[in-house]
Amino acid sequence: MTLGDSTTTPRRTPARPVVHARDVRMTYGDLDVLHGVDLDIHHGEVFALLGPNGAGKTTTVEILEGFRRRSAGEVSVLGTDPERGDDAWRSRIGLVLQSWRDHRRWRVGELLTHFATYYADPRDPAELLALVGLTDQAGRPVERLSGGQRRRLDVALGIVGRPELLFLDEPTTGFDPEARHEFHALVDRLARDEGVTVLLTTHDLVEAERLADRIAMMVGGRIRACGTPAELAGRAAARAEVRWTADDGTPRRERTEDPSRLVWELHRRADGPIAGLEVRRPTLEDTYLHMVHREADGADPGTGTDMNTGTGTGTDEEAHVV
C-alpha cells in the first residue's frame, strides 16, 4: 500500500518523489520508535508531518535529513540515500531547526554573507535579508535579535543555498500572530514561486492546514492518515454535526456520517425552509484528536491504517453551512 501519492496531483508532474520512504523502522534497544513509515513527498509540495510528542516525527525527519541511521527500510531523498549523502547532496537541502542558538556574536549580515560562500549559486544576502524582513537588523549581533527575528534569520540561512528541499521544524513556535502571518506568506512564496519542496513538522493544526498541500498524521510511530487537509477532515471517523431549530422552538442537534442525507430528509419532512440549519463538518482537529485518543485508549494499532484507504470526499461540496 502506498500512502499519499494516490490522493493528490502535484503541481508539476515529477519523475520521482523528492522524498520516498518505504517501511522505515527504528529501534532503540527493545524500544520500537518507528513501525514501518511510508512517505512520498513530491516536487514543490508543502508537506506537514503532524503528531503529538513522542509520535516519531523527529526521528522520521532526522532520518530524512541524514542525521540518524534507520534500523530498516528504504529511503531516498533527492534521489540519494541520506546515510550516504555527500556535500553535493547537502547543498540541495535546507534546514531550519528550533533549537539553534549558534553564532551569537556574529552580525546578521556578516553571518548570511559567510554562509553564502559555502554554496555554488547562493542567493544574494541583501535580497535575502529583505525577503525575511531583517534589512534593518543587518548590522546587529545575532544575540540581540528577538525570537521571531532569530527564527527568520534561521530561515534565511536555511535557504541561502537555494535548496530544493527545505526542512522546517516547529517553525513558528513563539511567534506573535503578525510574525506568524508573515512567515506563512514567506513559505508560500518559496513553494509557489520557486518550487521549493517543504517538509514541515508541527503541533499546530491551524498552521498545517494553512500551509500544507498534504498532511500526514503520525501517532505511535506510524503514519495513520495522509491526504489534503480537506480529505483528512472529511475522512474523520468523527461525524459531522447537523443543528437546527425544531418547530416547537427547541434547538436540535444530531451527529451523522451523511449530513447531506439528513438535511434532505429534514427538508422533505418540513416541506420548506428549516430555521437555524447548520452543518458542521468534522475539522482537521476532530480527526487529529480522534486519532490521538484512539491511540491513548490502546486500540489495536493495526486498525489505524484503514484511514488511508478511506473512500475520499465525494460529498464534500454538500457539507457546507446552509
Binding site: 523527529t58 553535493a88 542558538r101 559555502y118
Partner: protein
C-alpha cells in the same frame, strides 16, 4: 571535481577564522581574561628577585619561560575544548554539519583562531616581559629557531589533544571543572614555576609523561643562557627528547582527535540539541 569544494571549504574556513578572531578581539570580557594571564605572569616575575639555585640566571626568567609554555598549553588544553563544547551546545557544529564543506571549514577556522591566540599571547608576554620586567629574549638565530620549533611542535602536541578532549566533554559547565584541575596540577609539577629539580623523583617522572614539562624545557633552552642548564634534571636541555615527546603527543592527539571529532559531528542532530537545551534550562543555566 574534488578540488573545487576543498578549496571552497578552505576559503570559507579562512574567512570564518578571520571573523572569529575579530569577534574575539572586540569582546572585552574574553580579551580581559586572556590578558589577565599575561599580567599575572608579569607581576609574579616582577616580584621574585632570586636567581635560579646554582645558576646566575634570574628566577624571573625561568618563570616567564614557564608561563610562556603554560599559556601555549592552556590555549590548546583549556580554551580550545571550551570553545568546542560551547559551540557544539549552541548548535554551531550542527549548522556546519548541515552545510556543504562546513566541517572542514570549521576545523580550518579553529586552527587559525587557536594559533593566532597562542602566538599573540606568546609575543605579548615576551615583549611586555622584556620591556617591563627585564624578561628574557632569545640570543642569536639559533635560539630564535628553537623558540619557533618548540612553539610549533608544542602547539601540534596540545591542539589536537585539546580538540579530542573538547569532542568528548559533556557540556561547558562541567567541562571547565574537568580540565582545570589536571591542568593546574601539571602547571605545578612540570617545572614551569619552580625548578623541576626541586621536585621529588617520582613527581618528576609523572611530569615527564606530559607535554607541558617538555614545552617549558624547550622554551627555557631558547630563552635562558646555556649556563642555566645546570638546573635541569639531566644537566642539559635534552632538545632531542623535547622533540621526541612532543611529536609523540602530536601523533597521539591526531589519532584521537580525528575519530572523536568525526563522532561528535555525526552525533549532532536537532533533537540532541533540544534535549541539551532542556537539560541546561532545568539545571538553571542561562541559555
Amino acid at each position: 571535481m574534488t578540488e573545487t569544494p576543498m578549496r571552497n571549504a578552505l576559503r570559507a574556513g579562512f574567512q570564518r577564522g578571520g571573523i572569529e578572531l575579530r569577534h574575539l578581539l572586540r569582546n572585552g570580557k574574553e580579551m580581559a581574561s586572556h590578558l589577565s594571564n599575561v599580567v599575572v605572569a608579569l607581576l609574579v616575575a616582577g616580584f621574585v628577585g632570586d636567581d635560579v639555585p646554582g645558576t646566575r640566571t634570574p628566577m624571573a626568567h625561568l618563570l616567564l619561560a614557564g608561563f610562556a609554555a603554560y599559556l601555549l598549553f592552556q590555549v590548546g588544553m583549556i580554551n580550545l575544548p571550551q570553545i568546542l563544547v560551547t559551540e557544539r551546545e549552541e548548535g554551531t557544529l550542527l549548522r556546519l554539519r548541515a552545510t556543504p564543506g562546513g566541517i572542514p571549514a570549521y576545523l580550518v577556522a579553529k586552527c587559525l583562531l587557536v594559533v593566532a591566540l597562542a602566538v599573540g599571547t606568546l609575543v605579548l608576554l615576551l615583549a611586555a616581559g622584556a620591556l617591563l620586567v627585564d624578561g628574557p629574549l632569545p640570543h642569536g638565530p639559533g635560539d630564535w629557531l628553537t623558540l619557533a620549533w618548540v612553539t610549533t611542535l608544542g602547539l601540534l602536541a596540545v591542539v589536537p589533544l585539546g580538540a579530542a578532549v573538547g569532542a568528548v566533554l559533556p557540556n561547558p559547565r562541567e567541562a571547565l571543572a574537568l580540565i582545570m584541575l589536571p591542568t593546574m596540577g601539571l602547571l605545578f609539577i612540570s617545572g614551569t614555576m619552580i625548578p623541576i629539580t626541586s621536585m621529588s623523583v617520582p613527581v618528576q617522572q609523572v611530569a615527564a609523561v606530559f607535554p607541558l614539562k617538555w614545552m617549558a624545557q624547550g622554551l627555557r633552552s631558547a630563552l635562558l643562557p646555556d649556563t642555566a642548564r645546570t638546573a635541569e634534571v639531566a644537566g642539559s636541555w635534552e632538545l632531542p627528547m623535547v622533540a621526541l615527546v612532543l611529536t609523540a603527543w602530536a601523533v597521539l592527539g591526531f589519532l584521537l582527535a580525528v575519530p572523536l571529532l568525526r563522532r561528535a559531528a555525526r552525533r549532532e542532530s536537532g533533537s540532541r540539541l533540544s534535549a541539551r537545551h532542556e537539560k541546561a534550562a532545568r539545571s538553571g543555566a542561562p541559555t
